[in-house]
Amino acid sequence: MSATATASELDLLLGRKWKKPPFIKRPWLRWGLIVGAGIYLALAISSVPVNWARVYEGLERGAAFIAAFTSPDFVSRWNDIYHGMMESLIMTVAASVVGILISIPIGLGAARNIAPLPVYMICRGIVAVSRALQEIIVAILLVAIFGFGPLAGFLTLSFASIGFMSKLLAEDIESMDRVQAEAIKATGASWLQWINYGVQPQVMPRLVGLSMYRLDINFRESAILGLVGAGGIGATLNTAFDRYEFDTAAAILILIIGTVMALEYLSGIIRAKVQ
């Protein structure tokens, strides 16, 4: 009975073209969304004011800025640059180490598959607060509390690292292989032993990779934080701009780019080693 039904169903389909079913099934909704998105895009672009005369004038200034890169001046402000650079590096490394150390327990707590619900809620709360507050806002607040200087920058970067690292670490723990961890539990291991043998080996490469990435981010952030008075190379850069010393600013930017590239290269090597 069903055989004949299938046969006639099959006959209907033979010789017909086949197309992948559309993601949005209702045609009016599908076309409505496409047309709506097009109109929105056109309106949005046309609503951005562009003062072409101003752009023309600005091109000259831009050219002067770029021209300065051809003759970066490392020498005349070298003392300032050197101190700013050291301050940034110290701030970056210290904030990364502190941030990572604090983010490990919070990351464990924020992983639903290993933490009980109350701990999970608290840790997720900490992560949410840390991620919701933008670095610049935190830095302004901390500069107001601790005054100008690298201490405020260090604390800001530590705080921001916690949210970033904890969240990504927790997500890696949540996607780990459950059975490997289960096998360790079955041996009668204590909780700490379970984390050390069943969980840590699985997430270690990711943790190392993320730590290197965060170090990189922290260094770049430290250049921005100087603009709001939180010390580091950013403060030197800001001063250079204020004095219209574009050649010194260019030297600083080249140093920042060089450092970031060196960190990137280093993290590539380290990540390949820990796989």
Partner: protein, 271 residues
């Protein structure tokens, strides 16, 4: 030695995986647990060492009621139940030796295990076990460098170094080729005999189970449908457990056991 009384597990989804299972396993008996997928075999094994928390019922190991233990006592009780897993469940980024020694975690303190400073007796025993399963030279390899059969041997060492009274074995051969499957089953059963261990072995392959065990328990929809010696597995019984199918092949599938044995031994000698 092991006794289950009205062991029941209902998952939060409402699925009743085990329906008041009663089972008694005497010391030193190797038992195969067969049944279709979803019959509750894995759940049953995991309820015994409480990796899955049973909903009701009791588990007795010797004179200890496992289902009443607090977390500390449960950890100590788990040391007496070695577990072997379907996908080996080795910690892949640890070395073979670390994987074997992790069987001693229940016996050593955190710092000793963290620093990998195990007592000499444990290290000696780990080497002895690795030698027994023919993997001595692999001790410092990482677990993910090993083949399936080798990994399962490491899994066996990890379970045995716990010095257990009972082995819980969950589909030990499901991801292995037929020959390796036989070798692994033979190894498990030999080791159980050597050490007088009881074992519950979940297994899909009925023919393979019949070759090696003294007792077969058939589970269907979370209830025991059959309990008896392997010879008593008739087509009727298999139909009762698994449903309608032509079972003659499965039952007669004990053909060239002799050859198989010789071949395995020849290979063993060659290594």
């Amino acid at each position: 030695m092991l006794r289950l009384e009205k062991l029941t597990k209902t998952y939060p989804t409402g699925d009743q995986a085990l329906k008041a299972v009663d089972l008694e396993v005497p010391a030193g008996q190797v038992l195969a647990l067969i049944g279709p997928s979803g019959a509750g075999k894995s759940t049953l094994i995991r309820c015994i060492n409480r990796l899955v928390e049973p909903t009701s019922g009791k588990v007795w190991l010797g004179d200890q009621e496992i289902t009443r233990l607090g977390s500390g006592a449960l950890r100590r009780a788990r040391r007496r139940m070695g577990m072997i897993f379907q996908e080996y469940a080795l910690v892949e980024r640890l070395t073979v030796m670390e994987n074997v020694l992790s069987g001693r975690l229940g016996y050593v303190g955190f710092w000793r295990s963290f620093l990998r400073k195990y007592p000499q007796a444990d290290i000696d025993e780990a080497f002895r076990l690795l030698d027994r399963v023919g993997l001595l030279e692999m001790a410092d390899k990482r677990a993910d460098e090993l083949s399936g059969g080798q990994r399962q041997r490491v899994g066996i060492c990890r379970a045995l170094i716990q010095d257990p009274a009972l082995l819980l074995v969950d589909e030990p051969t499901a991801s292995l080729d037929p020959k390796t499957s036989r070798q692994i089953m033979r190894l498990i059963c030999e080791l159980c005999a050597e050490r007088g261990l009881a074992a519950i072995i979940n297994i899909h392959d009925v023919a393979l189970a019949k070759l090696f065990v003294q007792r077969v328990v058939g589970l269907r929809f979370g209830a025991i449908e059959f309990d008896g010696p392997p010879e008593a597995l008739t087509p009727d019984v298999l139909t009762q457990i698994y449903g309608e199918e032509d079972w003659e092949q499965t039952i007669e599938d004990v053909p060239d056991e002799e050859d198989e044995e010789e071949e395995a031994e020849a290979e063993e000698a060659a290594r």
